[in-house]
């Protein structure tokens, strides 16, 4: 699952050097802004075939927050 998360992050933030570890702070990534935050959520929705509620999406800070969302939706 971390690999799939990593693929979305690399795509959206246009950085092939990103390594998805649970403690990675997504909001500190080079190309992070509120628009790319939404793009990232669209990427997760498409990659995992889920819909992420706004409250969850807005609370995401780290990769482990993403894992928690996927777990809650039965994807992990």
């Amino acid at each position: 699952m971390l690999k799939q998360i990593e693929a979305v992050l690399r795509d959206v933030f246009e950085d092939q050097d990103i390594v998805a570890v649970p403690e990675l702070n997504i909001r500190s990534l080079k190309n992070w802004d509120s628009f790319n935050h939404v793009n990232m959520m669209i990427g997760f929705e498409q990659a995992f075939g889920i819909e992420i509620p706004v409250k969850d999406a807005e609370a995401v800070m780290t990769v482990s927050d993403v894992e928690a969302i996927l777990k809650k939706q039965g994807k992990a």
């Binding site: 628009f35 669209i42 999406a57």
Partner: protein, 565 residues
């Protein structure tokens, strides 16, 4: 040439658009655009960028946040090539919580202001609301009133983008996504916004330069059901209530193209007498008449001969001629002989064909001007002129008999749109090859030091409309031709000589001693080489040519000139 592209998801469009931006532009033209709306229009940008990249364009887009577009448009001195406004009913209703009176008057005024400055305006029109699933919802009445008000308030020049069919295609679940409204003020799911972006890309590409200028169509099992030679006139399927409805649909599609100024021709392997008999006997059942076709080629020879002849007759490039034929064999034959011809891979199922052709976007005419619509009739007049030329005794007396009058008017707001269209579309007679869009042309025309004229032509057969634009930039005693295009339909009647004469007189009256121009020889502008030499131009280094106004040669021509303001 690739003629149809699959729809992509938002994420795929984002990846594709970014990859395109990282690739060198390979001669792609960059158009500038401002984009905004009453919702967040950013989500249609990836689809727009990718759609334009596929059609050979780049876009430099400035995005305005929700609500900021109209104030910007009312005050700006910027002149982007295109301005795009997304008028969402979902956003206008605050996500289906209110039914306010939206200020459509200000939007319409902003659009008028931009159009007057030479910018093309595109408006994404209100979409069907989710609340309308309840058929008598007051939101339905509110949205329909909004659509009607917007339709009536916007000037005809504003290009409308309608989205209802996209909503049907992606379904309510794929369109309505309130979570994106809450997180980003998006009017719909980003995949839906991507479809809108693709559609805007087609509108922009087709506005700059229509992909198709003429259409050739087969008869048997394409324009009618059945094979004329085998089934006979009465055996052909033309019944709109039965098997014939798909073929009637194809006839209607072609007639609508003709109504927009696209000339049609029949290219059929049949005896002409068989075809004449069918058009006579089945006239009540046919939507098309023989007179709707500019040429009718009936022969047993390979079809590429007729196709090439038609392109030559109209003086258009093969890459702007579409060939519609149900037979894979005929398509392959034409493709191998004329690789640049546009040949849609028509579906086998006749019912699927018109929808397929429409889905390519090749035949879209986002804004049809009166001039476009009259084009097919002008081609007919040209045909009459050519017939006259073949039977006339000598060229001079023939040209004199045409009683041609050249109208010369300053380039201004009234003829700007047509001037830009001519500059974008003209390949053969395009002296500098520059393809300015509206704002750049207007800036050149506004400088009183410059020569900037639009020419129209009429003769005993009728008017040809505006046929040439010539813009020269003055620098002291030198005039540099910035742009000179002439519609190839009128080439060879001395029109270009009369226009050159007008330019020379204008220069001499102002003490301008020399006319210079860049000239870049391309595959398609060879006819200009002889012309420039004939007028006295000679190479002056660095790809430039020049002529002293005192030594310029204006050949005898047979045109009267009317100057206007």
């Amino acid at each position: 040439m690739t003629i149809s592209f699959p729809h992509v998801s938002y994420m795929d469009a984002l990846r594709g658009a970014r990859a395109a931006e990282r690739t060198p532009d390979a001669g792609k033209k960059t158009v500038s655009a401002a984009i905004g709306g009453n919702c967040n229009a950013d989500f249609c940008l990836p689809g727009l960028k990718l759609g334009l990249d596929r059609r050979g364009y780049r876009i430099a887009a400035t995005a305005h946040p929700p609500g900021a577009f109209v104030p910007w448009a009312m005050g700006t001195e910027e002149r982007p090539d295109f301005a795009i406004y997304w008028l969402s009913s979902f956003a206008g209703s605050m996500a289906e919580t209110q039914r306010p009176d939206l200020d459509i008057g200000s939007l319409a005024a902003a659009a008028r202001r931009l159009i007057a400055m030479g910018t093309r305006v595109i408006v994404v029109m209100p979409e069907v609301l989710r609340a309308e699933a309840l058929p008598w919802s007051p939101f339905g009445a509110w949205r329909r009133a909004l659509s009607l008000e917007a339709e009536q308030a916007l000037t005809p020049e504003a290009i409308r983008i309608h989205v209802e069919d996209i909503q049907i295609a992606v379904g309510p679940g794929g369109w309505h996504s309130p979570r994106y409204w809450a997180s980003a003020r998006a009017a719909c799911h980003p995949d839906g916004a991507t479809r809108i972006g693709e559609r805007i890309a087609v509108a922009i590409a087709q506005t700059i330069k229509p992909a198709i200028k003429a259409v050739c169509v087969d008869l048997d099992n394409t324009l009618w059901g059945g094979v004329a030679g085998d089934d006979g006139p009465q055996g052909l399927s033309l019944d709109p209530f039965g098997e014939g409805h798909a073929f009637a649909g194809m006839q209607r599609f072609l007639l609508d193209l003709r109504g927009n100024g696209i000339p049609l021709a029949i290219v059929s392997k049949n005896d002409r007498s068989t075809v004449d008999q069918i058009f006579a006997e089945r006239a009540p059942d046919l939507l098309v008449k023989q007179s709707d076709f500019f040429e009718i080629y009936c022969s047993w020879a390979n079809k590429h001969l007729a196709l090439a002849d038609f392109a030559e007759t109209l003086n258009i490039g093969l890459d702007t001629l579409a060939f519609i034929d149900d037979s894979p064999h005929e398509r392959a034959e034409a493709r191998s002989a004329l690789p640049s011809l546009v040949i849609p891979e028509l579906p086998e199922d006749p019912d699927a064909r018109v929808a397929f052709l429409a889905s390519t976007g090749l035949f879209d005419m986002p804004a049809v001007s009166k001039d476009d619509a009259a084009r097919a009739a002008r081609y007919e007049q040209d045909k009459a002129r050519r017939t006259g030329l073949k039977t006339g005794s000598d060229l001079g007396s023939y040209l004199a008999s045409l009683a041609m009058v050249l109208g010369a008017k300053p380039l201004n707001g009234q003829n700007l749109a047509r001037a830009v269209a001519l500059i974008q579309k003209t390949n053969q007679f395009n002296v500098t090859g520059r393809r300015h869009l509206g704002p750049a042309v207007e800036a050149l025309a506004e400088d009183a030091e410059n020569y900037a004229r639009v020419f129209s032509l009429k003769d005993q057969f009728g008017g040809s409309g505006e046929i040439s634009v010539l813009i020269g930039k003055r620098a002291g005693a030198v005039l540099e031709i910035d742009n000179w295009v002439l519609s190839c339909r009128v080439f060879g009647r001395g029109v270009e000589d009369a226009i050159f004469g007008d330019l020379v007189s204008w220069c001499q009256a102002r003490g301008i001693a020399r006319i210079v121009t860049e000239f870049l020889r391309t595959e398609r502008n060879g006819l200009l080489v002889d012309k420039l030499a004939g007028w006295g131009f000679s190479a002056s280094g660095g790809g430039a040519m020049s002529v002293e106004t005192s030594a310029a040669v204006v050949p005898k021509h047979y045109l009267g000139i009317e100057t206007g303001s």
